[in-house]
Chain length 254, copies 2
């Protein structure tokens, strides 16, 4: 056990840095009535914010350090109150978000929130399968649909699915335009923050076009995924796509 006098409120006590002994001592030390060599404990008189000795008569003359300690205790307890209020406000929000009733204790409420989130995630995952918009994995698909007659040209269905990103659509347009293909049809669907772009593409160069379209779309997906990841690491909350459209044909990319 060693002496530590580095606590900020000027309250001296015995401790050894060990959590266990600290806990054992905690209560007694608060009152300064422990048999170990405790020097003193100070408490705040809530009524006037003045300092009193926990044991013994109320001090007649008070030093500067005691006044400072009184102020520290006051601001400390006020900060703690604000913290509690902040936390409880969020808990109230959650109370409004889970179905169920009011008058639910904190632990049960939090358990309910946990299961609610899991349920919602499962539902979203299910919906994303039905809508063919995977939520967890990015995706690039390119497939030949049919060989057009004679001239060796090809009809392709190509799609990409990833998180939304401001430059996503213009990037997709750029890479598609750089290829020797003609876009027959475009569909853009979104689900939550995910975007899926599907093309019907015709090309006269049947040989390598599948690979080059796949490479082009993959480069876009990889760029977006890198941007999103770095934004998350920098604690920048990604802006969510709020306006969602499903199955809308559009010429945004043309």
């Amino acid at each position: 056990m060693m002496q530590c006098d580095n606590n900020q409120y000027g309250i001296s006590f015995e401790c050894d840095g060990g959590q266990f002994v600290n806990q054992l001592l905690h209560n007694a030390e608060n009152r300064g009535c422990f048999s170990l060599p405790v020097k003193q404990s100070l408490v705040l008189d809530g009524g006037k914010g003045e300092l009193v000795r926990a044991c013994g008569r109320v001090g007649r003359k008070r030093g500067v350090s005691e006044t400072k300690t009184a102020e520290a205790l006051r601001s400390h307890s006020e900060a703690e109150r604000r913290r509690r209020e902040r936390i409880n406000a969020h808990l109230e929000s959650l109370r409004g978000l889970v179905p169920s009733n009011e008058k639910m204790d904190k632990a049960t409420l939090l358990a309910e929130v946990v299961s609610q989130i899991k349920q919602l995630r499962a539902t979203v995952s299910q919906a994303s399968e039905g809508l063919q918009i995977p939520m967890d994995t990015d995706e690039v698909k390119v497939e030949a649909i049919e060989n057009l007659s004679g001239d060796g040209s090809l009809l392709l269905r190509a799609s990409l699915c990833c998180e939304h990103w401001p430059d996503l659509l213009s990037d997709v347009r750029k890479v598609i335009r750089s290829l020797p293909v003609r876009v027959v049809k475009t569909e853009i669907s979104t689900l939550g923050s995910r975007v899926k772009v599907t093309f019907l593409i015709s090309s006269v160069e049947g040989d390598s076009v599948v690979g080059s379209v796949r490479a082009a779309l993959s480069s876009v997906v990889e760029k977006v995924s890198a941007m999103v990841e770095s934004a998350e690491q920098l604690f920048i909350p990604r802006k969510r796509q709020r306006v969602l459209c499903l199955d809308s044909s559009s010429c945004l990319l043309q």
Copy 2:
């Protein structure tokens, strides 16, 4: 201010039942060093679970009531510790469910959870539109598709969408069978805990069949909605449909 000696730990103090004054007195009373006529305050010696006087010498002889108080304080603080552990365990679960990082303070974590739930709900709502399975409102739709040639028979598309309930499918089967119709095709889709059943129905009685099919399906939906509501009021967590199938033709109802 009036005397209250009805607190369970045998600790006497002054109070007036008012929250404000109670708070002001709270701290000083803990130590029994307030200038108001406080009788005594007892604290638990964490090391051995023994009772000591907050002010004054450690008592040599201890009464039965003091022993009982010591035990009460101990079990009280232990119960409180368990409560904290329960709450913190749920908070840890939530930490694992929000994306973001570890080392997030409680208030921020809870704020993140709130926004996460809102986002998930918006996504589910969006998906339910795309999949034509409304999440918030029950629905019965019946429409004539075409008049079959000559004999006055009719082809209908009928659908119902509501929460899942164990007897739902058999109830639907029952009411459909009670009608003078032939079921041509059935589709069952689910999203989360919602179920949508769609029928293609042919009938030789073209006049009233739309209304009677609608009435039949509505009676099922109303029964289910009543069951679900009463289950929620009784705090019975409705069993969620875990196995989800989308757009599956089936003969479950035939």
